[in-house]
């Protein structure tokens, strides 16, 4: 019983088929089994089109698995979703252009049954208090993603599922946001499941990296990232960091992956 509270996501032989209109159903996920511990930072890597986004959506209760069992914070994903326990953030920041930054961060407080939240504090956490009254059209790509992060955190989720959130940013912008994210993660004790296609980003952020295989995908490898926290820019030039990056890149590009 005790171990149960330590686990926020538990997947047992999860499989998923997409039923398509006018086409055969395709199997995207097959036999996926993993656990994510509370407050852990897990990164998912895999070839494009293998089902990473799909996996995040099942965790967040946006689509239901067709096989196996998925438990999110002790509950089925759709129940967890209805309590704002699992929240997804997207590659596109998805801000509403008719709302100010603060109003965007406040959005979760107005939706569902949730009536709590602290938008101002979340904005402070991502360092954008000065832009509370700006409109999304006035922000840079990195700032938009920070607002999206603040909005997701304002749900006070147990699990934050992030789908290539910094994929459209340049390298320095991405590095800055990686540090911001790690700080927010540490402050809020949220569990993060993070999808990226950048190996260095994965190694920099993760406690553990799950590598998915080609579709129909299953778990290829699970890699523990041993580097101490808090991590900073020095890690990026550490030879061990490079070595791990190379190992993972090799796994990704091997035909078995």
């Amino acid at each position: 019983m005790e171990s149960r509270t330590d686990i926020t996501v538990s997947a047992r032989n999860v499989g998923l088929d997409y039923n398509r209109i006018h086409q055969q159903a395709i199997t995207v996920l097959r036999n996926i089994t993993f656990d994510v511990k509370r407050a852990e930072f897990v990164v998912i890597l895999g070839p494009s089109g293998c089902g990473k986004t799909t996996l995040l959506k099942t965790i967040c209760g946006l689509i239901s698995v067709t096989e196996g069992e998925l438990i999110v914070d002790g509950e089925p994903p759709d129940i967890a979703k209805s309590r704002h326990k699992a929240v997804m953030s997207f590659q596109d920041a998805c801000l509403l252009r008719w709302r100010t930054v603060l109003e965007n961060v406040r959005l979760p407080e107005e939706l569902g049954d949730q009536r709590t939240g602290n938008a101002a504090a979340m904005l402070e956490l991502v360092g954008l208090s000065a832009f509370a009254n700006a409109y999304p059209d006035e922000l840079s790509g990195g700032m938009k993603q920070r607002v999206a992060l603040a909005r997701a955190l304002n749900c006070q989720p147990t699990i934050l599922a992030m789908d290539e959130p910094f994929g459209q940013l340049d390298e320095p912008g991405r590095a800055t946001l990686n540090d911001e994210l790690l700080r927010a993660w540490k402050n809020t004790q949220v569990t993060v499941v993070f999808v990226t296609h950048s190996v260095p980003e994965a190694v920099y952020l993760a406690d553990r990296i799950i590598v998915l295989t080609q579709r129909p995908s299953t778990i290829g490898r699970v890699i523990d990232v041993p580097f101490a926290r808090p991590r900073n820019a020095f890690l990026r030039s550490d030879p061990q960091f490079f070595a791990l990056c190379n190992t993972i890149s090799a796994i990704l590009s091997s035909p078995a992956a």
Partner: protein, 265 residues
């Protein structure tokens, strides 16, 4: 944002002033042509004569313009409310859309001039028949655009609202409606002109007051100057109404590209 709304409004006013200048220029050209080629005033009265007649007879025309405006605006309001409600229904019950859309198209393809006498017979030659004709002709663009606007949200935004566990009303009011507003306003401006046309056609068929009625009287008197003057007043009223709608759009959705007017490709 206040400042930027003000600048957007300023932009609208400048655009209108520019349009007015073009109009005046065109009238001057027209005047010159009419005078130069000695065109008979039965065919085309010179603009100055029309405006002179308009001022001279303003006392006669104004009450009729008022009647037409009441009919047109009531029809517009009716059409807008029904169109938006139907668009929302179509969004939530897609089968309904398959039912309504063909009917709306058929209604649109029947010429109003054919429909108008029928409506006057059934609803009498009072204000009701004109309101309905105005509404009929204003309905179609608003319905089509509202329905289109409500579904033209991007998938990620919809998924965002799903992940935040929004119910359908919240998704409607906080996502779909704001997204649809620019679409809606584009059609409301068309409808603003259309509803005046509808009201005038209704009056033309059978009425005892209104611009359509008065125009017919002047036509039978072969008073072409006044005919032009009368019809022009309703045109200007429709123009002013469409312009007012544009101002409301600027106030209600300053984020709309349309009203920003600067981000055209």
């Amino acid at each position: 944002m206040n400042r930027s709304i003000r600048s957007l409004l300023g932009q609208r006013v400048r655009h209108a002033a520019f349009g007015l200048c073009i109009l005046i220029g065109a009238l001057v050209v027209l005047e010159t042509i009419v005078k130069f080629f000695h065109i008979s005033s039965y065919l085309l009265p010179p603009p100055t004569t029309i405006f002179y007649k308009l001022f001279e007879n303003w006392g006669t025309i104004a009450p009729h313009l008022m009647v037409t405006t009441v009919e047109a605006l009531t029809g517009f309001l009716l059409a807008t409310v029904i169109a938006i409600c139907l668009a929302v229904c179509c969004l939530w019950f897609p089968t309904l859309e398959k039912l309504i859309l063909p009917m709306a198209v058929i209604l649109q393809t029947v010429p109003v001039i054919v429909l108008a006498p029928v409506l006057v017979i059934t609803l009498g030659n009072g204000i009701a028949s004109k309101v309905v004709i105005a509404a009929l002709i204003a309905f179609f663009p608003t319905f089509i655009n509202a329905a289109r606007g409500l579904v033209s949200i991007e998938t990620p935004h919809l998924e965002l609202f799903q992940t935040l566990n929004a119910n359908r009303w919240q998704t409607l009011l906080k996502l779909r409606v704001p997204t649809a507003l620019p679409y809606l306003f584009a059609s409301l401006r068309i409808a603003a002109a259309n509803c005046y046309i509808g009201a005038v056609i209704g009056e033309w068929v059978s009425a005892s007051k209104g611009i359509g009625y008065l125009a017919q009287v002047y036509l039978y008197q072969i008073n072409i100057d006044l005919l032009y003057a009368t019809v022009l007043t309703s045109s200007f009223a429709a123009l002013a109404f469409a312009y007012a709608i544009g101002l409301v759009e600027t106030l209600m959705c300053p984020w709309s590209r349309e009203s920003l007017g600067t981000q055209r490709p």
